[in-house]
Symmetry: C2
Subunit: 223 residues, 2 copies
């Protein structure tokens, strides 16, 4: 007997379904920054009770997507220029740590998966959907995070990336950005393959800084 395991994810408690639904809605702008999240009306809309909605909202708060005030309720977080800068400032040093660790610990199997990801990405650059590219991008970085063999780092970095999801379409929208993305990933991959720390760090920094630039140029903030 082999490879038989329950796909526990299929069980997905309601709160997680609600969570995913709301997160998508926020990221896609269906619920706007500053808009209030009323438990009862969300529950009615989604056809569930308040309990899972409450728990989902709390999860969203820890991801920084909503802000809660006691006895007043929750609203979609307004992300300011400063907030984004703060997130990137932290991500920057953690991404550096991540590739350094990955250089030491990445397995051949993980390298193979990165290569496969690059191929898929390449195939998607011109004809793939934004959603496809977005998840490939996410997947690429998750592989590297996991290669660090540091759960805490994986958790924090994944979280920080999620807080920038709202802006991911910016650098996936145009063909030129897609090509840049691919070439930067390739560069990171090659550096990791060679286990060259300095090169890896340089590549990841370039990647991050480019994304920051792309976002800053294309977004104008409310506040």
């Amino acid at each position: 007997m082999k490879d038989i395991s329950l796909k526990i994810e299929d069980y997905l408690p309601l709160r997680d379904v609600v969570f995913n639904t709301l997160r998508d809605a926020i990221i896609n702008g269906d619920i706007e920054p500053g808009e209030r999240l009323i438990e009862i009306s969300l529950a009615d809309t989604l056809g569930v009770s308040r309990t899972p909605v409450r728990e989902a909202i709390r999860e969203l708060e820890t991801e920084g997507l909503v802000v809660m005030t006691p006895r007043k309720g929750a609203e979609v977080a307004k992300i300011s220029n400063k907030d984004l800068t703060d997130v990137l400032e932290v991500r920057r040093v953690l991404e550096v740590l991540a590739v350094e660790l990955a250089c030491e610990k990445i397995t051949p199997e993980q390298l193979a998966r990165l290569e496969e990801n690059l191929n898929d990405f390449d195939a998607c650059v011109s004809k793939g959907s934004a959603s496809d590219l977005s998840s490939l991008d996410e997947n690429f970085h998750e592989i590297i995070y996991n290669a660090t063999d540091n759960k805490r780092l994986v958790q924090i970095l994944s979280n920080l990336r999620k807080q920038m999801y709202r802006y991911r379409f910016v650098y996936i929208k145009t063909l030129s950005h897609r090509k840049t993305l691919h070439s930067e990933h390739l560069e990171i991959f090659n550096a990791l393959k060679e286990k060259d720390k300095a090169k890896s760090v340089a590549a990841i920094l370039k990647h991050i800084d480019n994304q920051k630039k792309a976002i800053m140029e294309n977004i104008h903030f409310d506040c």
Copy 2:
């Protein structure tokens, strides 16, 4: 009219009370690693309903103090040597970032508060309680975190420190450790006062690495 603001913290919802209670219990070892957290029995013990207990447990999970499995429940996280190493690995680079930013942005007022903290600490070294020293230690670092003017960084670093609370007594227990702690804080303070990044980084690294050593020497892990 000036400086009048409601101390909203005094309202403290039940879930936060429960959260604090449980956290203290875990940190102090009243609830042991691996022990299950049963909602209903905790609720009965504390004289509240399941709802605030549930929410408190979820908060504890995001702090890494408990581990939850869907439909099975929560248990106090078993912290392994590896876990602690992982936390410190991340903290290390973030603490470096923090002092670098603090060098640039710390205000005279914050420096004054650090100095005051050092005086209080000095007064406590020989005769203070472990709890006094612990909160002074926490306060010292919180001032530096806040000096970075990066909310995200403050949030993550505070969180990572909390995950090591269980071990704080190790380096507060003995007089020699207390003295070391004070002199290291002094060194960090002086470097920040001079706005000397290299010196600050060196001082904070020494501080972290010393703590790691102290903990590693004094704790033996279950797993």
